[in-house]
């Protein structure tokens, strides 16, 4: 097994507050690696550090053995990394399909003159991209919105649309930031299928999620964060049995006693 993503002693300070501190872990190729932790544990900060939206205060991130230090966010897609957002980042001024096609950006020609004159090669490539992206929308389960404007789509479908857009960049590694937040049980179950099928395509998935049922049923590895530090790491079974994790989540091993005390 090779580590596709490797995080070494990563730290991020916001004016004296350590959002992430001395964090090291590795994500192996083809796995579903989940990151859980209470609110404010630093999960989203970690994602922002990995994807270049924040620059780390210390430590490093390597993708495929290549350091990501100093990379701009737009330089990560070509390196094979793409992500979704906890708060949706959908372009509401575009159609659903165009949002997904945006994901293919780096694979398409965009010369100024080819674009102005709409040369046949560009037209063909764009039509092919359109069809592939429609298939991707089908794949993530929002194919019925292929003709819709993004602003006309319900929340759950927009979450899938973001996943489709991330997949459109043909990433090696996909970072999903709370994809199940705001979804009902049925939608979450459907999402689980989608994530599984993404992993089946050989794409490594890093998942930040609060929905324990989803995390425990799908992950190969689980990393537990607490106050920016690693609390535990292991398979879902190991994590479920880990007393530190139970403490962090429930405050006390016997919460009922605590509540009545």
């Amino acid at each position: 097994m090779t580590a596709l993503l490797s995080v070494d002693q990563l730290g991020k300070e916001f004016g004296g507050v350590h959002a992430v501190e001395d964090l090291s872990f590795q994500v192996e190729k083809g796995r579903i690696h989940s990151i859980i932790g209470p609110n404010g544990a630093g999960k989203t900060t970690l994602f922002n550090l990995i994807t270049g939206l924040y620059q780390p205060s210390s430590g490093s991130v390597h993708l495929n053995g290549r350091s990501l230090a100093g990379h701009q966010p737009h330089e990560l897609a070509p390196l094979g990394m793409c992500r979704t957002f906890q708060n949706l980042q959908i372009c509401m001024n575009m159609t659903a399909l165009e949002n997904v096609m945006l994901g293919r950006h780096r694979h398409l020609k965009q010369g100024t003159f080819t674009s102005l004159f709409k040369l046949p090669a560009l037209r063909r490539a764009d039509q092919q991209c359109r069809e592939e992206c429609a298939e991707l929308m089908e794949f993530v389960g929002c194919g019925q919105y292929v003709q819709h404007h993004a602003s006309a789509m319900p929340y759950g479908a927009l979450k899938r649309l973001e996943i489709a857009r991330a997949l459109a960049s043909s990433p090696d590694i996909l970072l999903l930031d709370e994809p199940a937040a705001g979804l009902n049980r049925n939608e979450t179950d459907a999402l689980r299928d989608v994530i599984r099928r993404i992993a089946d395509r050989g794409i490594t998935v890093v998942l930040v999620e609060h929905d324990m049922k989803l995390v425990m049923s799908i992950s190969d590895q689980v990393l537990v964060l607490c106050y920016g530090r690693k609390l535990a790491e292991g398979t879902p079974e190991e994590i479920r049995a880990n007393p530190d994790v139970i403490d962090a989540y429930l405050g006390n091993r016997n919460p009922r006693e605590e509540a009545t005390a």
Partner: protein
Amino acid sequence: MSEAIPHRPSRVRAPAKWPGLLALAVVLLALPLFAGNDYHYDLMIKIALTAAVAVGLNLLVGYAGQISLGHAAFYAAGAYGSALLVQNHGITPVPAMLLAAAGVAVLAWLVGKPILHLKGHYLSMATLGLGVIAAIVLNNEDQLTGGPDGLPVAPLSVFGHELSVFGSYDLFGLTITGTQVWYGIAAGFLFLSVLFALNLIDSPLGRALRALHGSEIAAQVAGVDTGKFKLRVFVISAVYASLAGSLYGYYGGFITPNIASFTHSIELITIVVLGGMASTYGVILGAAILLLIPQFLTGFQELEMVLFGAILMAVMIFMPRGLVPTLARRFQKEAP
């Protein structure tokens, strides 16, 4: 996926552009039927050229979400640049127009390059400064530009045929006036401007631009180098302004530094905001309205700036999307 309705992706097509373009062509061809005299033609030519600038500016404002307060400078640079190249260097008008546009592209690139990788509205400040400098230079370098008195411009000539407004020409047996020829040139230029703008908007480059406006973070994560794309569209919009400016000079035969004024830049921005940001056809209507209003306000010339300000405020308050997108939405809602 059980709930997904099966679709045949091959049926997914880009929305057709030809109905809009056809409608535009019909309107442009039909307008001369209503033009009674040369004065009407003059107005239509000016509207068409201004609309073309606005179509270009709209790419920047409406799609890339950046504001230029100095587009009049690019317009003036095109007008003066081509006029001077013809006058002082003996270059024929069409290549002079293209050379001037290339120069403007370089100028816009130099101004935009250091600014456009910064977040925020620094471009507005820089272009504001550029506009002011351009007006000062044109006014004061009177050896070269004629100063406030203006500069006569040689008429456009194509393959040795001079196209002057005062001429009269033979087209397939029909006798047409120079003004009518110029209407054809301006209308054709506007049509091509729209065609190129629509092509651009619908291309991968255009998607990246629209994404900048929709969600800059999403665009970045998809691999769009946002600064680079803003710079590109800024240069494109400056070239639009430059070409229209050159044509304006050839058409009018005389240019003054007024075309580089701050008022003119504001007029252009007002047109885009009024017509509808991110609405190519909307800004054409915006140009028509804004250029027609002063016709009904003769004698109140000084009020023009006040009027632009009032229109800007009213549009922002009552229909921030602009005239055409707001009306389009209203009709869509009423229609079943």
